[in-house]
């Protein structure tokens, strides 16, 4: 059932699709470069985990989804939110803690949500959202729907009990969930080999008799090929898949972590930078004659304008009013529960 690394020949290049993929990945990259700047300026606070280096995973996966499919993810969530189509203004305003943020300034970097896009949020406790993803799969099956739920996570999640419990139930009940492990090599500063007894993480799927795959997370086409298969398996056969995507984070764990030094060397980082996912896609497109230097320049400039617009919007968005402090703790239950009780006698 296990699959070897996918090096199947690529299908014919699709220039329009490739341009969309490039645009999506470039948006995430340029957006997060400005996040780092805003963080340094104190405009973004708290924990801020950047996704730079992993953009092929979000874009490759999400480009295959239908609008009614679901996505749930971790606290490293900006890239996936943007790839799903969340407005950069709403994401940046949330990062700035403003009232026009997607969570009205109450969630911040780790908690991007957009119900209209079935984007079920960034979750802050490692592993805790994996059972939620299983629950979404349960709900799809309960209703007899043909959506799928994509559950993104980092490789450190696989050592939590929540991961084990959630994958066991998903396989036991045959739920339409694709569990995507973005193996970026480090759980904060602890290398995979120092945290997991198994280094081929996709093999964890064997414990649950779950179909599994591994792919190159720097190659957006490889990601799409793997995910296509997993998504179809979920949609058509109602069977979950565990996909390990081998990628690398070019930044520190969060903004307070140096890019290299204590737990990884500069040499290692530089080696991985040679496989920048955006660069690989751009080179492919240039080789295929789908993209000129001028096209690339134009696309990049357009992207920067979008990001600057998001920045300006966020800066102008008001702080949440103090009254908002006590809003959204509980919803008013307006259902029949509040109907007059029938007397006992």
């Amino acid at each position: 059932m296990a699959k070897k690394k996918n090096d199947a020949p690529k299908t014919a290049s699709d220039p329009a699709l490739n341009r969309d993929l490039l645009r999506s990945m470039l948006l995430q990259r340029r957006f997060e470069e400005r996040c780092a700047e805003a963080y340094a300026l104190g405009k973004i606070g708290g924990f801020c985990h950047l996704y730079i280096g992993q953009e092929a995973v979000s874009t490759g996966t999400i480009s295959l989804l239908r609008p009614d499919d679901y996505i749930i993810t971790t606290y490293r969530d900006h890239g996936q939110a943007l790839a799903r189509g969340m407005h950069p203004r709403a994401v940046m305003a949330e990062l700035f803690g403003r009232s026009d943020g997607c969570a009205r300034g109450k969630g911040g970097s780790m908690h991007m949500f957009d119900k209209s896009l079935n984007f079920l949020g960034g979750h802050g406790i490692v592993g805790a959202h994996v059972p939620l993803g299983t629950g979404v799969g349960f709900a799809i099956k309960y209703r007899g729907g043909d959506q799928v739920c994509i559950c993104f996570m980092g490789e450190s999640v696989v050592n939590t009990g929540a991961f084990h419990e959630a994958l066991n139930m998903a396989a036991l009940w045959k739920l339409p969930v694709v569990y995507i492990i973005e193996n970026n090599r480090y759980g904060m500063g602890t290398a995979l080999e120092r945290a997991s007894a198994i280094h081929d993480i996709y093999e964890r799927g064997a414990s649950y008799n779950m179909p599994r795959a591994v792919c190159d997370g720097q190659d957006v086409f490889a990601v799409r090929t793997s995910m296509q298969e997993a998504i179809e398996r979920a949609r058509i056969e109602q069977t979950p898949t565990l996909v390990e995507v081998r990628t690398y984070r070019f930044m520190g764990h969060s903004m307070s972590d140096a890019v290299s030094g204590t737990y990884r060397t500069k040499d290692e980082l530089e080696e991985y930078l040679k496989r920048d996912p955006i660069m690989l896609l751009r080179m492919h497109m240039q080789e295929e004659g789908e993209l000129t230097e001028e096209d690339l320049h134009t696309l990049d400039e357009e992207t920067k304008v979008v990001v600057q617009d998001a920045w300006d919007f966020a800066e102008q968005s008001p702080e949440p009013p103090v009254e908002a402090l006590f809003e959204d703790v509980v919803v008013d239950t307006t259902s029949e529960a509040l109907a007059e009780p029938v007397a006992a006698d």
């Binding site: 679901y70 749930i72 943020g101 997607c102 969570a103 009205r104 300034g105 109450k106 969630g107 908690h111 949500f113 957009d114 119900k115 079935n118 079920l120 949020g121 979750h123 802050g124 406790i125 805790a128 959202h129 994996v130 059972p131 939620l132 993803g133 299983t134 629950g135 979404v136 799969g137 349960f138 709900a139 799809i140 099956k141 309960y142 009990g161 929540a162 419990e165 959630a166 066991n168 139930m169 036991l172 809003e327 959204d328 703790v329 509980v330 919803v331 008013d332 239950t333 307006t334 259902s335 029949e336 529960a337 509040l338 109907a339 009780p341 029938v342 007397a343 006992a344 006698d345």
Partner: protein
């Protein structure tokens, strides 16, 4: 009016709500084929099928999270914990997911879920199976915490909990399941957050919740024989707490005993005493006295367990103390 057990009252509530709303399902350990560890779900698998009455592996953290995920996308799960002692394993999902998603998402994702099961001590189950979690849970903004003590309250409140659009922790009791009481046939609901005056009196208030409501009623009935009239305020819900009912009673009696099943430090009683000192300071004729479990893990030996638990005798002594009768 029919007299039924607390167990059957819960069963009726589940059945009626599942008939009323297809989105409601029951999930937990032994709820389906086994018919419920305490038979609360008896017959439900046969009536509703295995998609709506779902046996899980022993995996509290996992299935609590499955419930939250299903609730995020529109279902209305009832998650049964075989006991709240085991729910400690799932506390992350209750605290960090169910209770917070509405707030963290800026109001986008409310979580209509019920977490239910027996709470507190039964008989000789010793330390790991005899704990009261109402104060732990009541500490958390975003939750509602319901503690019915009678069959009537159990049914009406469970129906409200299932219809509530927020996460509700519903605390039952092994020792309550066989207790009997009048429960009307047909539809009724009891609003969450409303206390009930289980006995009326003007000499002393006992403020309590859950299983201890039965103890308080026994105390009131016994003391009535000596002409002492006790007001028994059964909170029924500890979050949100019916502060108005506490105030009304204490302003009438000028004396209060606070009775709870759990430990003393930072217990539900601590909060009730705080409300009393804030709102009724000038009404008090004596300091409030608390009755609670001894500050130890629950022992196994019968005599030690008895010594650890709050009971009728200890509560009577507390009432006599606040009335300066000794």
């Amino acid at each position: 009016m029919p007299v039924i057990t607390y167990r059957d009252a819960l069963n009726q509530a589940l059945r009626e709500e599942m008939q009323r709303d297809d989105r409601v399902f029951l999930m937990g350990e032994e709820v389906a084929v086994y018919q419920g560890a305490y038979k609360v779900s008896k017959g439900l698998l046969q009536e509703f099928g295995e998609m709506r009455v779902v046996d899980t592996p022993i995996t509290e953290l996992g299935f609590a999270g499955v419930g939250v995920g299903a609730a995020m996308v529109g279902l209305r799960p009832v998650i049964e914990f075989m006991t709240w002692n085991f729910a400690v394993l799932a506390l992350d999902q209750v605290l960090n997911s169910a209770a917070k998603l509405l707030y963290m998402s800026g109001g986008q994702y409310n979580i209509p879920i019920v977490f239910r099961g027996p709470n507190g001590a039964a008989l000789q189950l010793s330390a790991q199976h005899s704990q009261s979690f109402e104060s732990w849970l009541a500490h958390i903004p975003g939750l509602k915490v319901v503690t019915p003590g009678t069959p009537y309250d159990a049914k009406g409140l469970l129906k409200s909990a299932i219809r509530d659009d927020n996460p509700v922790c519903f605390l039952e009791g092994e020792m309550l399941y066989n207790t009997k009481g009048e429960v009307p046939e047909g539809e009724y609901v009891i609003p969450i957050g409303k206390a009930d005056l289980k006995r009326e009196g003007d000499h002393c208030s006992i403020i309590t919740c859950g299983k201890m409501a039965l103890v308080a009623v026994q105390v009131a009935d016994q003391m009535a024989k000596d002409g002492i009239r006790v007001d028994v305020v059964d909170l029924r819900t500890v979050r949100p707490m019916d502060v108005e009912a506490i105030r009304t009673s204490v302003e009438k009696t000028n004396r209060a005993v606070v009775l709870e099943e759990g430990w003393e430090l930072c217990g539900i009683g601590s909060q009730i005493v705080d409300y009393i000192q804030r709102d009724c300071f000038d009404s008090l004729d004596s300091p409030v006295v608390r009755v609670h479990q001894a500050d130890v893990p629950m022992p196994y030996a019968k005599n030690l367990e008895r010594a650890a638990k709050p009971d009728v005798a200890k509560t009577i002594a507390a009432v006599r103390k606040v009335m300066y009768l000794d």
